[in-house]
């Protein structure tokens, strides 16, 4: 579930649920129901193990419940705050376990990224683009995934990564440039 679909009214309505949960933790159940599936899939795409994902999501929501008192509404969907916790949990998991991170991509989303990078869409290019992900550090990869594969808007990304919206856009621009350079170099090496 992406957050783009929420209108301002829906965001305010959602915040009322958050306030209710702040007053009475039992009310957190509504938010839990609403966000369990998207959070599960978000984590699963990176972990690729159902039980591990269930554990991490459980930890994620526990943390959200215990920290809910400190949550401050900034006009953004509640999910932005949940994603921030989720990203931290997943990163912590890979730091602790030393396992290799998984990246799950729809081919359609991949083609969308090709077009955004102003690269011709072809199977060869797709393979080069996928290969180019290996040069990204985990933060860069996470940023790219959330923007193009989770479809999270820049203002939410800014909240998740604790930067300004403008910085988020600049960061994404540099990321695309980096991928583009890699693809050009790869093509040149293939030609030579």
């Amino acid at each position: 579930m992406a957050t783009t679909s929420l209108t301002s009214e829906q965001i305010r309505e959602e915040h009322r649920l958050v306030e209710a949960a702040q007053r009475n933790p039992n009310r957190f159940g509504v938010l839990y129901e609403r966000y369990y599936h998207p959070m599960f899939l978000f984590v699963y795409k990176r972990v690729q193990d159902e039980d591990t994902t269930a554990d991490l999501v459980s930890q994620l929501f526990l943390k959200a419940m215990t920290k809910l008192g400190g949550y401050q509404f900034r006009g953004l969907p509640f999910s932005a705050w949940l994603y921030r916790i989720a990203v931290n949990e997943v990163n912590q998991f890979f730091r602790d376990s030393q396992k290799k991170r998984h990246v799950s991509i729809n081919k359609i989303d991949l083609e969308g990224l090709m077009m955004e990078a102003e690269e011709p869409v072809s199977d060869d290019n797709l393979q080069v683009l996928v290969a180019s992900f290996q040069i990204l550090n985990p933060d860069e990869l996470e940023f790219l995934e959330m923007r193009y594969f989770e479809k999270i808007p820049f203002r939410d990304l800014a909240e998740i990564f604790q930067i300004t919206e403008t910085n988020a856009k600049v960061r994404m621009h540099r990321l695309l440039k980096k991928l583009k350079q890699y693809m050009e170099q790869s093509r040149q090496q293939a030609t030579n």
């Binding site: 599960f40 795409k45 269930a54 215990t66 799950s104």
Partner: protein
């Protein structure tokens, strides 16, 4: 080497599979478990909160310790130690009458009617008793804790049921030149600054007939002192009597080769000094002298034709028929004698002390009685001058004449903290006491150590800790070791004995 496993169009779990992991109840239980101890986690994770709580706990501990130490402080003078230091004099008085009690030659207590208050703060007008005790010597002052002043004494007023406290008007009147009087209050001696010149008619002073001190009507036995018997007798050196012709001396049949212990008796010979030993005698007679002793009469013709005789009182060592055995018995008897003599001398000392105390009490009583009788008869107006000190409370008093100090004397130093087992305590006050003349010198705390004016030896050290009293002997070394005084020492006499033992 690839950093990431990249999956294109991977199979994701079906919604039902995802829902199977969803369990808000379990999450909520976990949340409650976490929240239960959240306060304590916050406490130790947050340095500021932790420091604040630690500081608060430290403050509470300090306050608690201060409170406990105040409770444990050696306020030995909070109330007279009646058992250890019974009053010298007790007067039975009426609260509704003006009374003057003569405490010493120069000091009297003026008690106007209604100047003593009961526990409710109301003037007490019924019968009560006023007790006085002067602490005359160092050991009495040590037991009471009234150290640091001259001629300390205590005053106590009580009925059978309760103690009375001082009210307005109560005053100590001291004749002669003004002297700095001090009262023990809040664990220190406070000088009584408020005084009034005194001019009172002498005839008005003795109002009540002095009461006969109880000690005058008590015998040593009633005072718990053993009756003093006769001194143990020194055993005499044994001697043997060898009978050459047993047939002629049938009365000696049972004492053949027996050694005899000589018993000194007036009118009888000392065999070791009067030429009886190693001499041959013509005849010997024996007859019973006491329960276990005999009179031996040795006779032989003298050079001038007369009869030479020696009479000896002796006790037979029936089990000793050789000299070594007899000497071993003699040594045992000598040891028994030494022990018995020490015990007897101790008893004698106690009896003497009792007699001395009784004589002093009698002299004081007779003097007080004489003064009272004179006061009854003498109506000529005369004036006594002196100072009057308001008495705000009962308890300990003394005169603030400077305690002896020797500015140029060498100093010995004493640790301020003394360990005793696992416990340690600082000293509140320390004194050096000249054991010969009883001169008490206060120690001064300098640089965390107690500096004690050096005195002529032998010197005792009295250190008052927070919980008990420590004593030691200065033996000319750089430091002094003090030991806690045993709880068993409660009276001045016990203290004297303990300190004598410490000295040895």
């Amino acid at each position: 080497m690839s950093r990431y496993n990249i999956h294109i169009d991977p199979q994701l779990p079906e919604p039902d599979r995802v829902s199977s992991h969803q369990n808000f109840d379990a999450l909520f239980q976990e949340y409650r478990a976490v929240k239960r101890f959240e306060f304590w986690r916050t406490l130790y994770r947050n340095p500021r909160v932790f420091a604040g709580v630690a500081a608060a706990i430290a403050l509470m501990v300090l306050l608690y310790q201060a409170a406990v130490e105040e409770q444990l402080a050696p306020d030995r003078m909070g109330a007279p130690i009646a058992e250890a230091l019974p009053p010298d004099q007790v007067w039975t008085l009426m609260g509704d009458r003006d009374t003057t009690l003569r405490l010493t030659e120069t000091m009297s207590l003026w008690i106007p009617a209604g100047s003593l208050l009961d526990s409710a703060g109301q003037p007490f007008l019924g019968e009560y008793r006023m007790a006085y005790r002067g602490l005359d010597n160092a050991s009495e002052q040590f037991v009471s804790g009234a150290v640091g002043v001259q001629q300390p004494f205590y005053l106590e007023a009580h009925t059978d049921a309760t103690s009375l406290v001082a009210g307005p008007g109560l005053a100590l009147r001291i004749t002669g030149p003004a002297v700095p009087l001090a009262q023990y209050q809040d664990q220190q001696w406070l000088a009584m600054a408020e005084t009034h010149p005194l001019e009172i008619p002498a005839a008005a002073a003795p109002a009540t007939r002095p009461e006969k001190p109880g000690i005058l009507s008590r015998s040593p036995e009633e005072q718990g002192i053993k009756e003093l018997g006769s001194a143990p007798q020194l055993p005499g050196k044994p001697f043997g009597v060898k009978i050459k012709n047993q047939q002629q001396f049938p009365q000696f049949r049972g004492y053949a080769n027996v050694y005899w212990e000589y018993i000194p008796k007036q009118g009888y010979a000392n065999p070791w000094e009067e030429g009886l030993i190693d001499e041959t005698w013509g005849d010997v007679a024996i007859r019973r002298y006491r329960e276990d002793s005999y009179e031996l009469l040795f006779t032989r013709p003298s050079a001038n034709g007369g009869l030479e005789t020696r009479k000896v009182v002796a006790r037979p060592y029936l089990e000793a028929q050789t000299e070594p055995v007899a000497m071993a018995i003699y040594q045992d008897r000598m040891a028994e004698y030494s022990q018995a003599l020490s015990s007897w001398e101790r008893d004698k000392l106690e009896v003497q002390r009792f007699k001395t105390a009784k004589e002093k009490a009698r002299a004081d009583y007779e003097a007080a009685l004489k003064a009272w009788e004179a006061g009854q008869q003498d109506t000529t107006p005369s004036v006594i001058t002196g100072m009057s000190y308001p008495v705000a409370r009962m308890g300990y008093w003394g005169f603030l004449e400077a305690v002896a100090t020797q500015q140029d004397s060498s100093l010995i130093s004493l640790h301020t903290d003394i360990s005793f087992g696992t416990k340690a305590e600082p000293f509140v006050k320390v004194f050096a006491v000249n054991a010969s003349n009883g001169l008490i010198s206060a120690a001064v705390k300098e640089g965390g150590r107690w500096k004690i004016p050096m005195q002529q030896q032998p010197t005792m050290i009295w250190a008052y800790g927070l919980t008990r009293v420590w004593v030691g002997n200065y033996e000319g070394t750089e430091s002094v070791t003090v030991r806690p005084m045993p709880d068993s020492v409660k009276t001045a006499e016990e203290l004297v004995r303990y300190l004598e033992g410490l000295g040895r």
